[in-house]
Amino acid sequence: MKFHQATLPNGLHVVAELSPHVHSVGMGFFVRTGSRDETAAVSGVSHFLEHMAFKGNETYSADDVNRIFDEIGARYNASTSEEITLFHAAVLPEYVPTAMGLLSGLLRPSLRTEDFDMEKKVILEEIGMYDDLPSFLAYDKAMHTHFHEHPLGQSILGSVESITRLTSDQMREYHRTHYQAGNIVLAVAGKYEWEPLWELIQRSCGEWSSGITPRDYPTPQIQTRQTVLHRPSSLQQHGMLMNTACDGTHPLRFAAELLSVIVGDDTGSRFYWNLVEPGLVESAELSYNEYDHAGAWMTYFSGEPEEAEANLQRIDKIFEAVNQRGITAEELQQAKNKVSSRIVLRSERPMGRLGSLGNNWLYRGEYRSVQDDLRDVAAVTASQISDLLHSYPLGRTTTVTIGPLESLSGSGK
């Protein structure tokens, strides 16, 4: 396993972790842009642009992109979050040159108007699909409620109205300003040699325009807010609760990760013993979400509407107990065992390493090996968890539910 790092003159950051002991190569362009970087006028453009990337450029038509990726047996896809648009592919080593040509081409698409008009229909269908998924709606609404007017509260998909209004010219302008090389990290993991890889990258990405897009960091104005979305046709009540947590560069982020496992893992956690095992919910989990200059505790649960109020109170009690009395040494050790095992299992596939490589560079400007992560997980102490809880207690400044209930106590009908 060897780590390499280099930067092209145009500012594209490249990080690679190469090893002869695997079979494939995973590569991903992490573009530092997402819904938080959009203005209201172009809401949903980052995600729409991710789709448009696959419509080709002067070298490849849309059909070529789909066809050639399949010809080389690539597993490839893309995703858009509030902060990152990621284009990734896993291929066998002999196909790395072809895959690099295609993948880098995705970041310089032609954005033809006729393709834009056709893909707009697909985006509207995607919005329609999520409109039928209550758990997704709960997430979207919770982010919006919690971050309120802060950019992190902006919808990734946009709305039917914003997408319908969006023009291809607006998208071209967004692409011009947000896909500059300095805004992008290319991560590569797997079985390949550095020298030919670096040559390939220079050839594929060397001509990209340079520059970095500034990002705004207003302070989130977090206040207690509650939203009840009435959906009479649903059987279940879904709840999404949020509270402020440390940001992605905080020294206690490993403690935060372990605390989320202790309290809200899908097995053997406080949520499991108090909510899932007794059959009071279908599922309940707590995650620690790190963002650029922000962080959040996010709790999700689903279950019978009649139990929703009582489940919220049970969750409050769990939070209160942890905030006041902390966690036990056994819980901490168990969480370390679980998390360490997951780190190792995930690392055995190049695609499993890709996220860690790209995100560490993008958020923290650092490389972390599997051993670095294992060491830092092992080093977390109960007193660090106390410190963390002191600064970032568990709770729910934001409560969003969706389902048959018309109201919750404390909220108007």
Partner: protein, 411 residues
């Protein structure tokens, strides 16, 4: 492609153990299957296997629920368990050095579950809530309902159970299900990763040799559901499910059937993706998949689209399915083979994928295929072979189910 050696052990009680050591990995994964899935649910008690699968983790021997889960968590086992149609399964992945300890825990779970009475209602409540979540997710519901219609009982019964079945279930019936169906005969244990086959063999003998077999009861079958159906549902999108007969994994022509579905729906250059999404923008999600049981199989197709465009979506899907036997380009076949070969090689980076593949091979074929053998079969495929397969078995038992505000026409 190297061919890893698979070690096989057969216990006298009928349990099969398959071990594939893998180099360059620290982890090991296992998959332990018992032929106790929902096809064995007692009449009118659909959900019995689902409840048993969950209840088995709620206490074993002298351990209570907390002790079982805590021991697994302390070993860092990433586990999942539950019932599908055929099996109740226990799957896990962990560091290879912890495998022996984990297998000891699972031996206790599967041989001496306490099935505690106080956990019965909570588990049934959890199972009912899983049904609620399917009702709330139209994408999932349409496939569950499609399978209800295109397979005969008991294969049509959802693994998750039914409200009615769960309402009538008793703990005694669940305990009976355990006694009759969770037995070593027919059980398959697949292990892949950083393991020593000799250690596994000795340990498995110690843990399971003295477990006696139980006579298996025959399945009661029935007749399949309607070919055309609509479920009214208030939703933004209409969900479309299409199914037709295909051939199972054990059939000599299986790879031709698999390639036909792959050309229809494998990858972004496949026909459904190209014609339904890329050229017409009719939907976000469209796919077809070959679903295989031991002696029967179906192609299951799905699309979700806004109601106004649903009829056109169904028309285009059916047109693509129907025209498949009229011709296939060599390039289409080549792409499907390239994807398959790449996927086979990448499988060697995942201990979980290998463990599952071992047990699946054994169940369907009664032997383990090597990666080279599969690769050979894929490379030997010709366009003519696929067309012959399609023409010799024209679309039979075409089933169309829609879920949404309005029914659609099959044209």
């Amino acid at each position: 492609m190297t061919t890893p050696r698979v070690h096989q052990f057969h216990l006298k009680n009928g349990m099969t153990v398959l071990v594939e050591p893998m180099c360059d990995v620290q982890s090991a994964a296992f998959s332990l299957l018992f032929p106790a899935g929902s096809i064995h649910d007692p009449p009118a008690l659909n959900g019995c296997a689902a409840v048993l699968g969950e209840l088995m983790l709620r206490g074993a021997g002298d351990w209570d629920s907390r002790e079982v889960i805590t021991r697994l968590d302390n070993l860092g086992v990433q586990h999942n368990e539950g019932a599908d149609r055929v099996f109740i399964s226990f799957n896990g992945a962990l560091l290879g050095e912890n495998l022996a300890d984990a297998l000891r825990i699972y031996a206790k779970i599967v041989r001496t579950p306490t099935l505690p009475a106080e956990h019965f209602e909570p588990v049934v409540s959890g199972a009912r809530q899983v049904l609620d979540s399917i009702e709330d997710e139209p994408r999932q519901k349409v496939i569950v309902e499609l399978r209800k219609r295109c397979y005969p009982p008991p294969w049509s019964l959802p693994a998750e159970g039914s409200y009615d079945g769960l309402d009538h279930l008793t703990l005694e019936q669940v305990a009976d299900h355990y006694r009759h169906h969770v037995h070593p005969n027919g059980a398959i244990l697949g292990i892949a990763g950083n393991v020593d086959p000799k250690m596994v063999q000795e340990l498995i003998s110690e843990l399971f040799d003295d477990w006696g077999p139980v006579e298996e009861s025959p399945l009661v079958t029935g007749s399949r559901g309607p070919f055309l159906d609509h479920i009214p549902h208030e939703s933004t999108q209409t969900q479309i499910g299409v199914a037709y007969d295909s051939i199972p994994y054990a059939h000599p022509d299986y790879y031709a059937a698999w390639a036909a579905v792959s050309i229809l729906s494998g990858g972004s250059s496949s026909r459904l993706f190209t014609e339904v999404r890329e050229k017409r923008g009719l939907c976000y999600s469209v796919y077809a998949t070959l679903h295989t049981l031991k002696d029967q199989a179906r192609v299951l197709c799905y699309a979700g689209t806004t109601t106004e465009r649903a009829q056109e979506t169904l028309d285009v899907m059916l047109a693509e399915i129907r025209r498949l036997d009229q011709g296939i380009l060599v390039e289409e076949l080549e792409r499907c083979c390239a994807r398959a070969k790449s996927s086979l090689i990448m499988q060697q980076e995942s201990t979980s994928a290998r463990a599952t593949s071992l047990t699946s091979d054994w169940y369907h074929l009664g032997r383990v295929t090597t990666l080279d053998e599969v690769r050979g079969k894929i490379e030997a495929l010709k366009v003519e072979t696929i067309l012959n397969h399609l023409r010799s078995s024209p679309l039979t038992n075409l089933t169309v189910l829609t879920l949404g505000p309005q029914p659609l026409e099959v044209r």
